[in-house]
Symmetry: C2
Subunit: 208 residues, 2 copies
């Protein structure tokens, strides 16, 4: 098969997959709205601190709200086990070799739950700064995490996720000094793509 | 289009893409062997220290050998600029939204060079622990980097890359203590998938 023939077919299939995902994501969004569930999709590199931050958030929110979390990983149920310590409802999605979560996986997972019992649903995506940016999961807000230990240039090097996210969180602020994190350069890189982006600085381990 | 019809078509197209990549990778491997170029494919999460380690390696090797590097990123030429400080030949591959390097990109890039002028070719893949594991680039050896700051559980959570790599390098060892890196758990996670894997511990910044 020549490249000239093959390429358009791949693009077409990819468009179909994304279109199907978007249709389902829109249905999910409508359903979440009707059932009054606020949905947060959290995206970052592996090891940026999604699970640590989320454990802290779930623990605090669960005092006053009904909270739940879906957590995506290629393998293991480690993150679900960690998140369950918060007392929230947690379900693990094991993706095998798939590098992102898709709307279909969300729909399949929430079947176990009565949405009326949930005020906030957090979705912890697969650790990957590239692929999850193309997949709408019906969320209200998409949050991208960057850890200080990854370096200040990541927003500039992964513009797709910055462009598709609503909020950025800088994690591991307690390590900023020891890794010479250049905060000014980081903010410059963020604002270059998204001039008004809301950015929070945290350290979940040190409770900052 | 129903899912029952669509799914096999996607799998078929994916198989064709991978098969085409593998055929080209085999041709590249043969060519590298004939022209006596030793090729190293470096894979890790964003911010694990690929470029820092590579700058150090290129600088040291270039005293006695002819070295070159290809570096993949979604956007920016930052890494190529950093690597050029070593004095090696460097070419940036900008992938746009593509989450990995492919054999075709390598073939296109080495057209600029006479392979007889190269002893070692390093390929710095796109920062991603998932997608690059499926794409052979014709390398002699695939190296996966894990930084201590990402946590000791990453080899267990990203088994595909561990299974497809030949060597693992633990980076940012100077930060192991401050981030409570559990070295025993890390090695256990590695050896669970690959009992005899060669593992090196480094800190490129501190010259360990």
């Amino acid at each position: 098969m020549s490249q000239a023939i093959e390429q358009p077919r791949i693009v077409k299939i990819r468009e179909n997959v994304l279109k199907k995902n978007d249709v389902l994501a829109r249905q999910l969004r409508k359903r979440f709205q009707e059932e009054k569930v606020y949905v947060v999709n959290i995206v970052s590199s592996p090891g940026s601190g999604k699970t640590t931050l989320l454990t802290e958030v779930l623990t605090r929110l669960s005092k006053n709200f009904k909270v739940a979390a879906l957590v995506g990983d290629l393998a293991t149920e480690n993150d679900a086990q960690r998140l369950q310590q918060s007392g929230a409802k947690v379900h693990q999605i094991t993706t095998g070799t798939v590098c992102h979560l898709e709307a279909q996986m969300i729909e399949d997972s929430i079947k176990h739950w009565n949405l009326l019992d949930i005020d906030f649903l957090f979705i912890e995506n697969v650790g990957n700064l590239v692929c999850p940016s193309s997949y709408d999961l019906g969320e209200n807000v998409r949050v991208v995490l960057f850890s200080t230990t990854e370096g200040e240039d990541k927003p500039e090097k992964y513009p797709t996720i910055v462009n598709s996210a609503d909020i950025a969180i800088v994690t591991k602020m307690d390590l900023a000094e020891v890794v010479d994190f250049n905060k000014e350069a980081f903010y410059q890189a963020i604002y270059q793509s998204r001039p008004n982006m809301k950015v929070f600085e945290v350290s979940a381990k040190k409770n900052i």
